[in-house]
Symmetry: C2
Subunit: 528 residues, 2 copies
């Protein structure tokens, strides 16, 4: 992501308003309220908000490129952000504000980018610098500092923000297989991810239930495997749009094509890809995981992941590898024979590893890194050093042990177990998400450094366009702060206060983020 | 509600299409599939769907008043229903259909109303006749029988429906105090109630958290007690609109003004209404339930409920009476003194009864009947014979005992305990709602007859405009079928199949009803 090294305030345009805490010489004494962070979410690393406030006017306010900035009007990512944040700050209020001559204290925000201009067209990556040293933090933080006074006028208090994320990988998983998610829903949630400084969209795009990804190489996969071949698929143009929309918001799109399990929908459009299950000595007509003993399987995977590697620009792809059911493999006489030949005995996890090993080799040739669910590590598959192990199983003790084991083996890891947001319960369950910490396990400092972040997962069995967005937000916001803010930001009362305001801000920006508890927003959601 | 005694099919306009099950003489043999109810929800009492299908065309289809009908073009409730159901059936498809000359099998639906015309302007009531003897059931049922064939053409199969509700009171409680619910949200949910043949909107309009009801007599109540005196109130015009919108859909609006507990917000705009709590010998500055020992309290209630009785036309009002906390009463020396005078000893439930008794007398003078939460019955308050006891507490055994006790005392009752839809859990919790039966307790037939129905309650702590609708539907649909259909309609698999289609129909009609499980709808929700 672009390095917003400095958001300069054009001080010559400003007149500081005097509020409380003024000494006898009429000299403004900024009082930094270290414990009052207004509605900031996630909390920046260092925040000092003074009591000196400036007025902003939508009719005169400009976001301009600082003279020293390496990026300017030709930088699409920056211009897109200017428009977005201008609308967040002034969008609804502008028309009511009347004439252009209204006096404003602060009329220009200077944005000074220090990274090379070329990044304007680049994709965000795991090594992108997201730090920010400035008066007001990045544009999202700046916009969060803007508030309405009792007259409806926009104000911002003079502030000093120093900011950077605690973890590089802060993700949200959406599942478009159990239910198809219209593009509109995906874009709205990318928009909301940006508001929460989430920088990875883990797109669990296909699974047993349906295959909505329209492959140019294997169009039969969605033609046969999607819920509907036209209304319930993501065309190449759709995928491109999602990726570009995400890029403009500093969000990486990591697709997951999970094999060898979770592939029932793949089998409909690709003959012989899945293992035929047997009932006694005869094929039962049903199919199991990907057939790992046929050369055609690997030919298919080679072509398929070659396409995936070009369609999705991110340097990582998620290869799944979870929950492989051995029942079907065990029933199949050809598989049994292969097991004997390979001297695997009765250990079908060796067969699973055999498949995954070859798949990883195939994907490696596409120059992509990969994420895999923890089972692949647990089964002892040989992995590239830069593989990311995605922990998702067990209770707290079990996942903490897993994090310890994975990092002791020198692998990088990310955590999802405590953040299965599809699991709902009555009450303020965001507090549980908020308390979980991915570095909370027994291990050395070196091991802790191998934790690159985590992901909130919203599996799709019970969500679709009707209820996904309010179920995800602000519950995923709790995860967003855990992954962005300092590890000692754990005050649940302070979090409740800020998050309540942050959720109303999301609502004002058009996102149906659900309430934390009895309360109200100045501007309630306008939809149904 | 109007009695749709017959929806006549103009058979002279029809040509039966021959499908399967034709005998050798080319004579159509209608095969009634007693176990196949397509997408009907709630299931009518008697359904026979033949395999003879008719085509409908949006360009030629007319809903007309039968010659014999007692209601016609001047009947607002009927004309409003015609338009609504025409749009449900043809709304989105009409434009694609081209010319007017497209051949249709069924061009007119004759609606024969047998009840007096005057009911067109009346409000629905607990004694309204909702039964329906016809080829196609009521308009909702007729519209549910319409389906698209593989060419997108609308069809309906010749059917014989005999229908009436099992219970007269089939309600949904919405709570506009914990969160303010914009009128738009309330109307959308009334619309959805009608699709589910829910006929009571129990409007829990005020509570501790806020008082959004704008009283003409006591405007200070909302001026001081609402979350916001202008943006978060229901004006008289709003309330009128809700009542009329409901009336046109056969839905009664029963407001709840819960006292003496749950009244914190009342105290802000009405001095001396609430009991001052004491800390030792001094007032603590906080307030408890309504002060039951002052004459001013009863003067206020007299005026207030006089207004309520004129604003809300339904013959019943819900008076609450639940969860009265005695702590504050106990702390107050004036209350203590009063307890002595009345010889109540230390039994504060006697004081509660004293208050409720007087309140009921006041409300009786307005010619309204009343519903009260079960505590009022439990505390032995003297009740009018037509009082409805609303059961909401305890586990299954406890609420079944309560239903037995209440009916043994000769009172009518309605059940909500198993239908607290605000309580969410992971998975298909609608099945639990579906299995509960309000007549499932130990009692005589006479007792069972005193059960007038039930209500699904969606308390407002965790819902507002952002998430209320998908959280309510189709979970409340499960309750709707339990209260409408015959008691032996309990096949959970059949229910799942019909409810899945019914939920997609709600989605097509613009309601974000959430999914039951992994699946898809032909037309997914268009919002976010």
């Amino acid at each position: 992501m672009l390095k917003f090294a400095s958001l300069l305030l054009a001080l010559s345009f400003c007149q500081g308003r005097q509020h409380h805490n003024i000494n006898n010489d009429d000299e403004v004494v900024p009082v930094f309220q270290a414990s009052k962070y207004s509605s900031l979410w996630p909390l920046p690393q260092k925040v000092q908000i003074s009591e000196i406030s400036f007025k902003l006017s939508g009719t005169s306010f400009k976001i301009v490129d600082a003279k020293e900035s390496s990026a300017g009007s030709s930088c699409s990512i920056l211009q897109s952000a200017y428009r977005r944040y201008y609308e967040y700050m002034f969008g609804s209020a502008k028309k009511q504000w009347g004439g252009k001559n209204r006096r404003a204290d602060l009329t220009e925000l200077h944005v000074w980018i220090t990274s090379p201009d070329s990044e304007c067209d680049a994709y965000p990556g795991v090594t992108s610098d997201e730090s920010c040293e400035s008066f007001y933090g990045g544009l999202e933080t700046f916009s969060q500092l803007v508030y309405e006074d009792e007259y409806g006028a926009k104000n911002i208090n003079s502030s000093k923000i120093s900011d950077f994320p605690r973890f590089a990988h802060r993700g949200v998983l959406l599942d478009s297989s159990r239910h198809f998610l219209p593009i509109k829903v995906i874009l709205a949630n990318l928009e909301t991810m940006a508001m929460n400084k989430i920088n990875v969209f883990h797109w669990h795009i296909v699974d047993d239930q349906s295959f909505p990804y329209l492959s140019r190489t294997f169009p039969q996969l969605s033609q046969q495997g999607a819920y509907h071949p036209y209304t319930h698929v993501y065309t190449p143009a759709d995928v491109k749009m999602v990726i570009e929309f995400a890029r403009l918001r500093g969000i990486r799109v990591i697709p997951e094509f999970d094999t060898p399990g979770h592939t029932q929908s793949w089998g409909k459009g690709q003959t012989d890809l899945l293992t035929p299950c047997f009932s006694g000595s005869k094929p039962s007509g049903t199919f199991g995981p990907v057939n790992p003993i046929l050369n055609t399987t690997y030919d298919f995977m080679t072509q398929f992941f070659k396409e995936v590697s070009t369609v999705f620009p991110d340097t990582y792809v998620h290869l799944g590898g979870d929950e492989v059911d051995f029942t079907c493999w065990k029933s199949n006489p050809d598989i049994q024979k292969f097991m004997e030949q390979q001297q695997f005995g009765e250990d079908y996890s060796k067969l699973e590893s055999f498949y995954i090993q070859r798949l990883l080799d195939i994907v490696s040739t596409t120059q992509k890194g990969y994420l895999i669910w923890q089972e692949v590590f647990d089964n002892g598959v040989k992995l590239k050093a830069d593989t990311l192990i995605h922990v998702w199983k067990g209770n707290q003790q079990q996942y903490q042990n897993e994090m310890a084991n994975v990092t002791a083996s020198g692998y990088q890891t990310l955590l999802s177990t405590p953040w299965y947001l599809n699991r709902i319960s009555y009450g303020q369950d965001w507090q549980g998400f908020y308390k979980a910490d991915p570095q909370d396990f027994k291990g050395t400092d070196e091991q802790k450094k191998l934790v690159i972040g985590g992901e909130a997962c919203l599996w799709g069995e019970y969500v679709d366009a009707t209820n996904l967005t309010p179920r995800l937000w602000p519950r995923a916001s709790a995860v967003a702060e855990r992954l962005w803010s300092a590890s000692n930001v754990t005050d649940i009362d302070d979090a409740f206060n800020r998050l309540s305001l942050h959720r109303c801000r999301m609502v004002e920006r058009g996102i149906p983020a659900e309430p934390l508890f009895s309360s109200y927003c100045p501007h309630e959601y306008k939809g149904v």
